[in-house]
Symmetry: D2
């Protein structure tokens, strides 16, 4: 089951990467700034896919893996500036061949721990020979600073003896605010620079 | 003009490469033989694109470069065995989102100099943000032996003082026949081996 | 001249990248944290190589391009945390087959505009068949935050009408301090997290 | 044990690939023909490494895996023409930092089944931080035709019920001779073409 789904999930990721690649090249030949700093992607492991289905009390099979798990395929788009994040979200929402299933703006409304990011669930058609399947992909769009913070916060989740450490949680929250301020400051400076020839 | 066309031509090549990649991965997870040995691609240079338009007495601009030149974007699919070449041609002709514009089977009907290959001109949709353009791609499908022969024959074309050398031309023709025989022999042996567990 | 130097300069960059790659893989199999976030590299363009030699009143030829220009080949190592920057600098300084020519710690002593980074000039042996040439490579090691700041400051340098804009310069300086603080804060949190199982 | 050896084995392969890459680039800037068509590489699996040590009655550990197995790391260099194969072998034997441990010319002296290829066992220094280890790499150099034949012969070995099939063995032997003739013919034609401007 997992092997079959992998081909489809990777195919869906590659479809979006191809679109992103064309967006970037097109900006560059028009002498516009590349809004993307870099892109990463991942497929959920077999183990964590099964656990997700089990938690939801859904039978474990290929169709359910593809139809009931929205984040089996994930793409992360890292932008330099906050306005680039929103621009990329808008561009991705406009394609005729992809459907927007869900949308969450954790930048205007950060999570309580300080997490910021723009999330989209897209439904992407994948062609294999004569078959077309629709596959869900979770796209997370964020700045470099948001991504760095998220990677640190993520590390904390892997430590089992750390849960009650209020100090770390508070420090992380404070750093999230600090980093949000810096994102705004850097963007403001860039906008000032942009006004000159 | 050239820079704008490059993004579209590369986009079209990438669309087909993505399809080929999915075909191969899908074969592999099904424990079938990968019919493709390797893939190469190229974009016509600006100079040779202009010359082609000039030879045809067509004004040099982006639309003509995209609509009147069929081989501005080229993909070459190298297969191990002759039957894989025909299988790949059949698969590529079946996609609903690509149109077959032209088709030449230089394997059943080799050129007089000995050239063998299967040629397809496909019309491929390329999405850039909200715009969709149709772009021509020439796909050449051949065996390793056909490809090796073609690369040697190609080298001869670059020598200006060589034209009248009948001996080389004859030797090349003889080698083309030799290599066609070997392609059949190797495929026959593979088919014999395939019958065993 | 330029083409010949390119092979050597790229060779020197690839030698260092191979070393960095082995360092990372070795950390990962030992279950240690990968100190490197990502690596970029560039070769100086022919134009800017010539200008540098001209400014120094040195004849333009291959030997001078390789012997008098220290930053013709450049590698940038981006680390997540400040302590990783110093660790990477220490590791790179210990190889028997590379010589440290120059060393600048702009992290302990930032430039007046706010620029922070650790710079090394290394002399690297490059083997081409039986020939060995020593080639200089400038290695810049910095955190993600230092790199982001530097890319914004760099953009300002390309604007010719911007020079007197004291406000932007002051804002950039303030952001550099802000980002240095964040680098320390993030590292402190990581160290707190590291203490737990 | 296996994980540790992997880093060293991959490092040794990468060292040789870097050398090959520089040889090719250097040929190209000198407007000489690239002698290499393409390169592949592989690391022996843990299972087959253990079996090899067991067959030799040698204790299974990292040192033995690195010191007693000569083909744990393998590189295959595929050339277009037979003379390129010998040129590449000569170049690789001349490096001061690599030692030639073994050398087999199965082109002048093909195996009885028809196998042709040039084999080298090289001892390659791999630097990880301050440590230098010497690692064996088996290099197989062959033409496209030799490689294609070998891949078909290899497929036969995986079929357990095929052993007594004399006809296939004979056909393979005949094809090996045929393909050796073609290698010579193609090289002869190339040499004739090379004589012209």
């Amino acid at each position: 089951m997992y092997k079959d789904s992998i081909v489809l999930l990777e195919g869906a990721i590659d479809e979006i990467k191809l679109k992103l690649d064309l967006i970037r090249k097109n900006k560059i030949i028009k002498n516009e700034r590349d809004p993307i700093s870099y892109i990463t992607s991942r497929i959920k492991t077999e183990e964590s896919m099964k656990q997700k289905l089990m938690r939801k009390n859904i039978p474990i099979n290929l169709d359910n893996a593809l139809n009931k798990v929205y984040d089996a395929a994930g793409i992360r788009i890292i932008c330099s500036y906050v306005d680039d994040v929103f621009e990329m979200a808008n561009i991705l929402k406009q394609y005729d061949d992809m459907e927007v299933i869900k949308e969450k703006d954790y930048i205007k409304n950060p999570k309580s721990n300080g997490y910021r990011s723009y999330h989209l669930i897209l439904k992407v058609p994948v062609n294999i020979e004569r078959n077309v399947k629709k596959v869900y992909v979770e796209v997370q769009i964020r700045t470099i600073a948001m991504d760095f913070w998220a990677s640190l916060e993520h590390e904390m989740k892997y430590k089992k003896n750390i849960k009650s450490q209020e100090m770390i949680v508070n420090e992380l929250k404070r750093c999230a605010d600090e980093s949000a301020t810096m994102d705004i400051d850097m963007m403001s400076i860039r906008k000032m620079i942009d006004e000159y020839d």
